[in-house]
Structures are given as structure tokens and as C-alpha cells.
Symmetry: C2
Subunit: 117 residues, 2 copies
């Protein structure tokens, strides 16, 4: 499993190949953090940043926010809020689905989307 920082750096360097605006310093500036801070994060010297900063990084680097948050060891606060409103229901559901294969979960997602209630 590739590290959060490694992943950031790989992604940034990839974008950098076709766009010089993706230097560490410029990305840091657009994201609103110090270059030194981003440097240490990319190198795994520091913990991944806060949810808010991680989301801005995802936006800047064109990454899926939930996936990047997951790599940062976090779960989006809006998802947490959904669970907290009906904790028993969603706790049961998630533990049931823990073992289920991806396609089964996808099926459920589609069922719900197309479901009529």
C-alpha cells in the first residue's frame, strides 16, 4: 500500500510533466499552506493534514476526495454525519457489507438509486 505522501508526490510529479504549475511551492500556495509543510507531508515526515486541507489538495490534484481522505486515514465528516443520524441502521449495514464483494455493493447502490419509495 502506497503511502499518503508518496501518492501525493507521484500525482503532483505526474501533473508537473505537462504543466510547470505543479511544483511543490505553487501547489502549496494554491492550496493555502506553507511549502515546507507540504514538503514534509509528501515525504511522510508529518501526518496527513486536516480534512479541509486534504480536500483542497484533492481538488488541486484532481483526485477523488473520499479516496484521498481514506489514504489520509480519515472518513469525510459528511459521511460520518449520515451515520450518526441513524447509527444502528448504518452500523448494521456496513458490518453486513464488510465481507461483500464490490459488485454486490454496486448492485445495492443501483437498486437504491432506481428504487421507488
Amino acid at each position: 500500500m502506497t503511502h499518503f505522501g508518496d501518492h501525493l508526490r507521484q500525482r503532483r510529479e505526474a501533473l508537473r510533466k505537462t504543466d510547470r504549475r505543479y511544483s511543490l511551492r505553487q501547489v502549496a500556495q494554491r492550496v493555502g499552506i506553507e511549502p515546507a509543510y507540504l514538503s514534509k507531508i509528501e515525504r511522510g515526515d508529518l501526518q496527513p493534514p486536516s480534512e479541509a486541507t486534504t480536500l483542497r489538495l484533492a481538488g488541486e490534484l484532481g483526485e477523488d476526495p473520499d479516496v484521498l481522505l481514506a489514504m489520509a486515514g480519515k472518513v469525510s465528516s459528511d459521511l460520518q454525519a449520515i451515520i450518526r443520524k441513524r447509527p444502528k441502521l448504518f452500523a448494521d449495514l456496513l458490518r453486513q457489507l464488510k465481507q461483500a464483494p464490490d459488485h454486490a455493493i454496486l448492485t445495492v447502490v443501483r437498486e437504491v438509486r432506481d428504487g421507488d419509495w
Copy 2:
């Protein structure tokens, strides 16, 4: 919405009516925290405790752990781990189900439980 601390106190006092072992001090001791700390939590003077302590409180007071954690503004770390392993899938699922009525989610839970994969 009743406060986390209020809820704890109500629950503890209810148990106390039939069992003197549910004094604040004795519960605190069994849970492994200082009475003064539990007092302030019940009165809403301090934030809800850590996940670990909240779970011990749930056990001691016979409450559903996920529900009590939700009242503490948290989501169980094992549920978070489930989500983090397949963030896109579960993020989509939860956002789909955000609006769904309880019975629809229950149906999904049962479908998955009885499903054959």
C-alpha cells in the same frame, strides 16, 4: 435532542433506582475514570470522552455502543475502517441512502444478510 451528558445521567439514575451500584462514583470506578471527570461529562461541562471510554460506558450502562458513540459525535473506528478500505463504494452508498427511509435500509440489510455470494 437530548444531550450526551443528560442522557448518561438519566440512564444511570434509572439503573440506580433498582441498584445502588450505579452511583456516579461507582460507575466511574468500574469504567476506569475519575468521578470528577464523569460528573463534568454528565453535566455537559466537558466534551464527551474518547471512543474507548464511551464504549466502556455503553457496556456499563447497557447501551448500544454505536448509538452512544453517535450521541458523542463520533463514529466507531471499525466502521470507519470498513469505509476506508473501499471509500468510493461506501461513500456512494451512504450518500444514496442518506434520504432513504429506515425501512428501505432495513430491507437492504436483510437482502445482504440473506443474499447468496
